[in-house]
């Protein structure tokens, strides 16, 4: 079995790679490979799309590698598990509204919009540890408890149009989307690879997930 982390020039993949490799070793479920090659992406059992920075840049970089976008779509269509992290999660949406209007994968209906806390003293980016409010049960959140903390750093959020797609939120002058899921796909706005034991637990759950 293999887990592929998609590399499309979007920042630091080292901690993502190491955290997935560690949990993969613990579970004995094989290799974690970082790759931008569509042919390797096609061989993934579990596929991870990370991402930091702006939606527009990530989307452009993803589109710049011939065949990559399509290979990711094929993986998801085939029913195999997929996980998006941070901007990688935002790209699961219909549209991103950061630096213009950009199409996402459209798996989770909804837009990615600037956070606008109702308390104007709250700073943007939303940066640091926030406690999760779990709205829907999900196998990838097994053992993760209400109010466990996760690490966030972002200025935009995915607002799912369909309530059932929403998995967890955090409070930051109103509800902020922390995780979404539908069928064989899951996405977290927070960084599991930076969220110490809570994050490692989630990664382990994802690697053993059979949707």
């Amino acid at each position: 079995m293999s887990t592929i982390i998609v590399d499309y020039n979007s920042g630091n993949l080292r901690s993502a790679e190491k955290s997935f490799q560690r949990m993969s070793d613990e579970l004995g479920v094989g290799q974690v490979i970082v790759s931008s090659d569509p042919n390797i992406v096609r061989k993934a059992d579990h596929l991870v799309l990370p991402g930091v920075g702006a939606f527009a840049d990530c989307r452009r970089e993803l589109g710049a590698i011939d065949g990559l976008f399509g290979a990711i779509e094929e993986h998801v269509k085939s029913g195999k598990p997929f996980m998006g992290i941070c901007v990688g999660m935002q790209m699961m949406a219909t549209r991103g509204l950061e630096h213009g209007d950009h199409d996402g994968f459209d798996w989770i209906k909804g837009d990615v919009k600037l956070i606008s806390p109702n308390d104007k003293k709250l700073k943007i980016p939303h940066m640091g540890w926030n406690n999760l409010n779990l709205t829907t049960k999900h196998p990838v959140f097994n053992g993760i408890k209400e109010n466990d903390h996760a690490y966030f750093v972002h200025s935009y959020q995915l607002k799912p149009a369909i309530n059932a797609d929403l998995l967890a939120t955090v409070d930051y002058g109103g509800k902020i989307t922390a995780a979404v899921a539908r069928e064989n796909i899951i996405g977290t706005q927070f960084h599991p690879e930076k969220s110490q034991s809570t994050g490692l637990r989630l990664i382990s759950n994802f690697l053993s997930w059979k949707p």
Binding site: I124, W129, S155
Partner: protein, 252 residues
Amino acid sequence: MLKTRIIPCLDVKDGRVVKGVNFVDLIDAGDPVESAKAYDNAGADELCFLDIAATLENRGTMFDVARRTAEQCFMPLTIGGGVRVPNDVRNLLLAGADKVSFNSAAVANPDVIAQSANRFGSQCIVVAIDAKTVSPGKWEIFTHGGRKSTGIDAVKFAKLVASKGAGEILLTSMDRDGTRDGYNIPLTRAISDAVNIPVIASGGVGSLDHLVEGVTKGGASAVLAASIFHFGDFTIKQAKTHMQNAGVAVRL
């Protein structure tokens, strides 16, 4: 709700922690990675490594530190010191840093912040501001470890770098650094109020009340300290419990 972050900062020189971490039995107290692991286990919210003698020749040692830390610590890591151009950011991010901190180079050329933020995103661009009080309610930027005055107003500069796309400000009071007299609260408050990005208070912590004041009076989003943690005066847990009892929300 979002919690106030507590960030231990380690000064690194030639790949070694300068003063060492003495609150636990480490096989090698001078190894930044061992220290990082100890703080990871202790529940620190983030870590900060400052390369205090960064030169072109010894850059490699910090990349190695970042690489080894990212392999073992699954928590946010900021690295600063000697960061001059966007490619320095790229190399540190690739090595394993989550955020990269600019200091003198941002003062010399604030556009480097815009270039870096556009390329890598604001979330990973920190600007470290070292400020000294020049008259009541007036603070000036100093560079080169506080030795060189610039004549630049700290509040104006903070606004400028925020507008250029900095994601966070690491604010150190040069008047207080090393004194254990507490953060410079008026400075911290002035900068926190002036910008809409998170501000990390730094410089002068000697007691746990100082950490509380940085947040309640200074308006900081995060508090950074070095010696009180490294020397084992207080644990991260004690600091967090103290802050929680004082009404500051922390991750416990």
